[in-house]
Amino acid sequence: MTDTQSGLLSSQHDWSSAAARKRVKRRYAADRRLQFYGIGAIALSILLLGVLFSSLMFTGYVAFYTTKVALEVPFAADQFDKDKLGDANYRGIAKTAFLTYFPEVTSRAEQRNLVKIMSSGAPYIIRDFVVANPDRIGSTVTIQVPVSDPFDQLYKGVIPRYIDALGQDRIALFEKLQRRNVIKIEGGKAFAATDIFVNPAEIPDGDITKADLHGMVREGFAAYYPKQTSRAYQEILAEDASTQVLRAKIEAEPGIVGKTVTLMLPLAPAYDELARTGASKIVNPRFGDKAEFVWFDKLISAGAISTPFTWELFTNADSRYPELAGLAGALSGSFFALLVCFLLSFPIGIATAVYLEEFAPKNKWTDLVEVNINNLAAVPSVVFGLLGLALFINTFGLPRSAPLVGGMVLALMTLPTIIVATRAALKGVPPSIREAALGVGASKHQVMLHHVIPLSLPGILTGTIIGLAQALGETAPLLLIGMNAFIPSIENMGLTQPAMALPTQIFSWADSPERGFVSRTSAAIMVLLGFLVIMNILAVYLRRKFERKW
C-alpha cells in the first residue's frame, strides 16, 4: 500500500457536519420520490386495467345470459318420418307453437311480423332436440328457444323501445312552426295547417295525375322557412301522405285550382310525436312497430320469458344471428392451432437454444444466427402471416384457413420467444453445477439432460407459456392465412378444416352490425383474457413447482 492511499483512507470524515446531514436528507428524499413514482405508475396501470375490465364486464356480462321463450311443442307422430327425422317441417312446428301465445293475431301479415320475435334459429333447435330425443315424439315438450336479437337486447335493457329521433336544431325548426300556430292537433294526430297555392301551371292539361303535387306541397311549406338554407325542414311533413291530402282536396274541389287553400298536412312520425307529447320519441327502428312491443309484453306477462345462462356461447358455432352465435368453433380452432404451435416450437426452440448455448462454436456464423434470432422476435406478426401465406399455402399447398397452417405460422412467431427464454434460463444455471457433473464424469449431453435442462425448466416453461399466450392472442397472421372462416357448424372441426380462432372471432364479431354482437364481442374478449390469465397462472405455478435452490 502506498502512503498517499493510506493517507486518503485515514483522513477523518465528519459525518455529523451540516453538509453531511443535508446529504442524508437529500438521499432520503430521493428514495421517497422514487418510491412515489413507482407507486404512482402502478396505481395508474391498475386504474387503466380496472377501466378496461369494468367496461368489458359492463358490456359483456349480458352475453352470458340469453332471453328465451318457452315453446310448448306438441310433437305429433304424423309430422315425422322415422328415417328422416331431420327433414320435418320444423319451421311450421316452431311457428305454430309460438303463435299459440297469440290466438287473437290472425292476419297472415301480422303473424309473419309476430314470428320475428322468435330467433330464426328456433326451427333448428327443435330439430336438434327431436333428432337427439326421437322417443319424445308423440308427447308435448317445453323447449326454450332464444328470442331474436332486438328483443333479447330489449329485455336485457341494452336498447330502448323508443329513441330520440330529433336533434336540438330540428326541434328549433319545428318550434318555429308551433310559435306561429301552424301546428294543430286533431283527433290525436298532429297536422301542419299549410297554405298551398294550387298552381294551374303545374297541372298540365288539367290532368292531376300528371301534376307535380309533391312540388306544390314543398313550395307551400317552404314559405314558412323563407330564409332557411338548410333543407332540414322538409323532413317535417310526411311527404307522401301530404301529397295524398292535396290530391284528395283537388279531386273533391276542382274549383280550387288557381287559388290558395289551407290544408291540414300530416307530419312525419317523429314530429308528430314531438307535437303531441313535447318529446320526439319514436319506436326504435330496430323494431317493426309498436305492436311488437305489445306482443312481447304479452309474452313476458304470460311468464314465457326466462334468461338462463348462455351455455350456447361455448357450445354453439358461429352464426349470423347474435343470439345463436357461440365460440365453439373459435375455441377448437385456437386449441388446434396452439397445439401445432406448441408441438413445433417447443422441441425446436429448446433444441436450438441448447445447441447455440452449449454446443455451438463461437464464430461469425453462430453470431449471425444469434443476431437473427433476436431480430426475429421483433418482426411484426403480420409479416409471419404473409410468409405463411406464401410458403405454407401457396408453395406447399397446405389448406387455407386451417389450424394446421395457423399453428405453423404461430410457431414461427413463438420460436424466438422460446429460444431467447431458454437461453436465458440455461445461462442462469450456475457453472458450478456443470463442473460438478463434468467432474464425476458425466458426458456433455448427460450434463445437459440430467442437470442443466431440469434446472432451467422453470424458465423454459415460463417462456414457452408466455410465447403461447402471445400466440393465442395473435390476430393479424391468422387473418392473412384466412383463419377467419365463417363456420356455422361444429361438425368437421380438425387440424386441416377451415376454422376460426378466438382473436379472429372477436375481430369478426366486432365488425358485425347487429347489436347483440357488441356484448358477444366483449364476452369473447373476456373468454380470451380468461385463458390468458389461466396460462399465466400455470406459468407461475410451474415455475414455483420446479424452482430449486442451489
Binding site: E435, G439, V440, G441
Partner: protein, 268 residues
C-alpha cells in the same frame, strides 16, 4: 493394490518415488496468454501432494489439466505429456468421461447437485454403471458417506436436498460424491477455503484416511494445511514449477529463494 506397502509408517515419510501421475513439459495457454510454463512434476501414489503458490500462479489451471477439465474452456490449449499410471491422458483415443470418473475432483466452493443427498452420490455410479442392483447402489452410497464422515449426520435425511446441508457438510458430501466413482486420484482445489476451522479439521482428517487408498492432490493457500496434511509439496510461481519435493524439506529447508520467501510470508 500392490503399492500399499508404502503406507503405514508414521510419522510422515517421504514416499518412495512411485509416481501415479507424471507430467512432462506441460504448457497451458488461455488464448495467447500462457498460464503454465513447461512444468515437469511427479505425484506419488497413495499420498497427499499439495500445490502451493501465490494467487494467479496457475495451480488451479494445472490441476484441471489432470482431469482434462480445461477441455471445457474453449480458449484453453494444453501441450505436453501427462500420464496416469503410464497412460497418456491426452491420447485422442482416451475417453474423457472415463478419465473424469477415474480422477475425481472437489471444488473450492461446495457444489452439490440440487437433488437429494442420496442422488448426489448415486449419480456418478449410476451413469457409469458401477453397480448392478439398487441394493448394491444403496450400500455404495452408504459406504461413501461413511468414508466422508457424513453418514451419522445425514442417515435419516437421505432424501432431503443436498443443498440444505451446512457448508462443511456440503463439502464432505462433494468428497463422498467424488469417491463414489471409485477414482484412483482425487483433485481438491482449495477444498477448505469456504469452511470454518472445525469443518476444515474434519476434511483434513478425512483426507488423511483417504490417502490409504487414493492419490490426492490438494491446492491450498494455507501453509499450515500443506505442512499438516501433505507428504509432498510443489511450489508454483508465475506459471512455473519452482520447487517440488518432500514437504518437510520444503518447509524447513527450501532450496529456492522464492520458496523461502513465500512460505515465510514475504510475498503472496
Amino acid at each position: 493394490m500392490e503399492h500399499q506397502v508404502v503406507e503405514g509408517s508414521k510419522p510422515v515419510t517421504v514416499p518412495a518415488l512411485d509416481p501415479t501421475i507424471t507430467a512432462r513439459g506441460v504448457n497451458v495457454f488461455y488464448g495467447d496468454k500462457q498460464a503454465i510454463f513447461d512444468v515437469d512434476v511427479d505425484v506419488p501414489r497413495n499420498a497427499i501432494t499439495s500445490f502451493i503458490g501465490p494467487s494467479g500462479c496457475g495451480k488451479s489451471t494445472f490441476l484441471r489439466c489432470i482431469n482434462r477439465m480445461n477441455d471445457t474452456i474453449p480458449i484453453c490449449t494444453v501441450t505436453g505429456d501427462i500420464r496416469i499410471d503410464g497412460e497418456d491422458i491426452y491420447d485422442p483415443r482416451l475417453d474423457v468421461v472415463e478419465l473424469r470418473a477415474r480422477v475425481g475432483m472437489v471444488f473450492q466452493k461446495p457444489n452439490p447437485f440440487p437433488k437429494s443427498i442420496y442422488e448426489n452420490i448415486a449419480y456418478g455410479p449410476r451413469i457409469h454403471g458401477l453397480t448392478r442392483s439398487k441394493k448394491e447402489l444403496d450400500e455404495l452410497v452408504e459406504k461413501c458417506l461413511e468414508k466422508a464422515g457424513l453418514l451419522k449426520e445425514v442417515k435419516d435425511r437421505m432424501n432431503e436436498p443436498g443443498t440444505g446441508l451446512s457448508g462443511g457438510q456440503q463439502q464432505r458430501l462433494c468428497i463422498a460424491r467424488a469417491i463414489a466413482t471409485r477414482p484412483e486420484v482425487i483433485l481438491m482445489d482449495e477444498p477448505c477455503s469456504a469452511l470454518d476451522p472445525i469443518a476444515t479439521a474434519k476434511v483434513e482428517e478425512l483426507m488423511e484416511e483417504l490417502k490409504e487408498n487414493y492419490t490426492i492432490i490438494i491446492v491450498t493457500h494455507s501453509m499450515q494445511q500443506a505442512a499438516r496434511v501433505s507428504q509432498r509439496t510443489a511450489f508454483f510461481h508465475l506459471g512455473k514449477l519452482v520447487e517440488n519435493g518432500d514437504t518437510r524439506q520444503i518447509f524447513t529447508n527450501p532450496s529456492d529463494k522464492r520458496t523461502q520467501d513465500y512460505i515465510t510470508g514475504r510475498f503472496g
